[in-house]
Amino acid sequence: MAEHGQHSVPHAQAGEFDNMELVHPKTFLGKYVWSQDAKVIAIQYGLTAIAIGLVALVLSVLMRLQLGFPNTFSLIDPSSYLQYVTMHGMIMVVYLLTALFLGAFGNYLIPLMCGARDMVFPYLNMLSYWFYLVAVLILVASFFVPGGATGAGWTLYPPQAISPGTPGIHGGILLMFASLAVFIAGFTMGGLNYVVTVLQARTRGMTLMRLPLTIWGIFMATVMALLAFPALLVAILMMLCDMLLGTSFFMPEMLNLGEPSTHEGGSPLLYQHLFWFFGHPEVYIVALPAFGIVSDILATHARKNIFGYRMMVWAIILIAVLSFVVWAHHMFVSGMNPYFGFLFATTTLIIAVPTAIKVYNWVLTLWRGNIRMTVPMLFAIGFIFTFVNGGLSGLFLGNVTVDVPLADTYFVVGHFHMVMAVAPVLVVFGAIYHWYPKITGRMLDDTLGKIHFWVTFLGTYAIFYPMHFMGFAGVPRRYYGYGETTFIPDSIQTLNAFMSVAAIIVALVQLVFFYNLVRSYFRGREAGPNPWQATTLEWQTEHTPPRHGNFGTELPVVYRWAYDYGVPGTKHDFIPQNMAPDEVERADRVDQDAPGRLPS
């Protein structure tokens, strides 16, 4: 396999590479609805994910209303609170972030940034979206069945997930299982496409070590998802049998509301192992694309090459591998063998090393860069703050002795919102501000963007930072109200009210963002092909927005990595990946103060 490139590849099929067969539909339906174009599919994914994400946002506001102002809203009772927690968590993690990063950004960026005309199997790719849509619809339907949505917590732990006393144990949980199964099937179709496209369909000159880090992040996350979702699928299939057939995979013998159950001998711990074998990698499935995108935003808007590109790639790979051997740190209080706790605490702390390397490299990328404080840049820097914050509280929770008193308190809620909720969401926003000009051909409004950033960034700190203190005070999570509880001081209630007000403000400011999205689509400033003067291939397309097939008649040829910003001795402060060495204009004189000069 040493020879590659222009040689004819023996098993390559006729349609592959340059003259890839694309279906060019003529009708409106064919172009925008049943489209096989990865870019259209990406937008379909994105809009659907944002729509369902809004539902989750509204649910979180409802929860905050209840927590901040108990006994005020008759609409929310203890059961519905549990349903809100569950649906909020599941939607945010799986249906919003996973779908957005892999389905939306993956579809849009992988073919463009790799220099491919489309995903390798566009039909399957299209099917992937429709499965996702069905999964979302099933999930939404679960709100409306008798008994309502499931209130088992997003972890869906048995026995309570399917035992009387939990909301939604009939229709709700059933539809949750169905929806997840359809989601996994649909994701697999898309995920296979993303991985094979990155591995097998890059353009000439695009080696793996020249890929932008965005693609590395999305690629590794997809590989992880393909290996992690199976565990969830098996777990829900088994629980489905426990529920419908009366088997005892996970259900122990027990008394439920005074009634002996018909189950015996199942292992709830087995479920927890299976779930977290999926659940922990899932955290990194939403984190790795965020890592990658942030790296590219930072480099582009600081006009500097990313610090330690190779290290960044290896860190992504190492994190992906390690994250499959840390899952039981979610189970320190589950009653599993204590030696397991020791083992998993160790692996958890080891994973902090490559993660820390990434953070250092981001900061070093900014160091003496020619930083342009654009809106995407603000979001990227905001991400570094919240991510470091959540990462540090993660180190606390990774130690068994610290975790035991903190488990199931608001410290945990504060931790994971910082590290896997706020941080990736900030990146999503940054990425939208960054790529919107390519997707629509128009710029988003800067002022509105800055308002959106500052209110969201400071607001989320106001919501989630106090949670850490509440956790130290011992306030438990997933509680509808605390009533008269002696160990919870009254001041906690004041704090709760404050956090709720902040949450409402943060939720409202998202309207500014949506207004910006819609208004700029019609009225925004023309963006031109490359408004950020970026090097990667998606900015070098013939048309903006790129047409079906992405590039003109010829696929681009890649001559360099994605980070040639401020190269000393050249005239412009960036060199696109597809610019041949002899086209690069040399600077006539070496200008010491030239913008974007590398620190010597």
């Binding site: 396999m1 040493a2 020879e3 590659h4 490139g5 040689h7 590849v9 023996p10 098993h11 390559a12 099929q13 006729a14 349609g15 592959e16 067969e21 279906v23 390798v120 199997f121 039909y123 697999t188 296979l192 496409n193 094979v196 591995l199 097998q200 369909a201 890059r202 353009t203 000439r204 000159g205 080696t207 793996l208 070590m209 393909l226 290996l227 979702f229 199976p230 565990a231 699928l233 098996v234 088994m238 049998c241 057939l245 009366g246 088997t247 005892s248 995979f249 001998g265 199942g266 087995l270 299976l274 890649v558 001559y559 360099r560 990595w561 040639d564 190269v567 041949a580 060495p581 690069v584």
Partner: protein, 244 residues
């Protein structure tokens, strides 16, 4: 080839001409070469990846089975008695399952031949071999249904059985059922492929009726990969359920 100095330009010629490297460096440069990592078609690469994902599904099933079997306090039913077939008054352990395994493994052989004759453009023989493979697969599923019926007749249910731990029925039906579904889906696709071969769709590269993609004989090979994988999984299930 990997660019040894990212950031420094490398001409396309340089990229394609650099000398093959040895050992670890060679591995890295192969993997990071331009365009494609593996010298195989997109369809085949995707099938391998799907199989990898599927391996994780079956691994989770089997690990779950082991955990349940080892943690239950009730005795586990004795496989050689449960799965015995009584012929002419004689109870022969594992007879049915041995035949089933033999059939499935044979079908892998016919599948491999179909791939071979497909590449040799022998349309008739390819189609016949595919149909034989499908028939063997269908026989396997039929015998599995027979075995299920037999066990159900003896009182085995997903939630209980006459001999011991209730989990026996649960894992048995779930895992063999999941595998049987895989075989069934494989049979359906093999029949479709046989029809395509007979009509000459692969030869003339006619577009498929759903995807609009042109057909080629590589598709049989990808399907073959799936089929061999399903057989291999069966070997594991066989070992874990019938020999443990």
């Amino acid at each position: 080839m990997a660019n040894p100095h990212p950031g420094r330009p490398m001409s396309p010629v340089e990229m394609t001409r650099s000398a093959p490297q040895e050992g670890m460096a060679g591995l890295v440069s192969d993997w990071s070469a331009e365009r494609r990592v593996f010298d195989i078609s997109w369809g085949k690469a995707m099938m391998w990846l799907f199989i990898l994902s599927d391996v994780f599904i079956f691994a989770c099933f089997l690990v779950g089975y082991m955990v349940l079997r080892m943690s239950t306090v009730d005795p586990w039913p004795d496989a050689s008695e449960v799965f015995a077939l009584t012929i002419a008054g004689q109870s022969i352990p594992l007879l049915l399952i041995a035949i089933m395994t033999f059939i499935l493994i044979s079908s892998s052989g016919t599948m491999a031949l179909a791939v071979k004759y497909g590449y040799a453009n022998n349309r008739r023989l390819t189609a016949v071999l595919l149909l034989v493979t499908a028939a063997l697969g269908a026989t396997f599923v039929g015998m599995q249904a027979f075995e299920w019926a037999m066990l159900i007749g003896e009182g085995v249910r997903p939630w209980e059985n006459p001999w011991g731990a209730a989990q026996f029925g649960a894992v048995f039906f779930l895992i063999t059922g999941f595998h049987g579904t895989h075989v069934t889906i494989g049979v359906i696709f093999i029949v479709i492929m046989a029809v395509k071969v007979m009509r000459g769709s692969l030869e003339k590269s006619r577009p498929g009726f759903l995807t609009g993609r042109k057909g080629n004989y590589g598709m049989i090979e990808s399907l073959g990969l799936y089929w061999h994988f399903v057989d291999l999984v069966w070997v594991f299930i066989f070992a874990f359920f019938y020999l443990w």
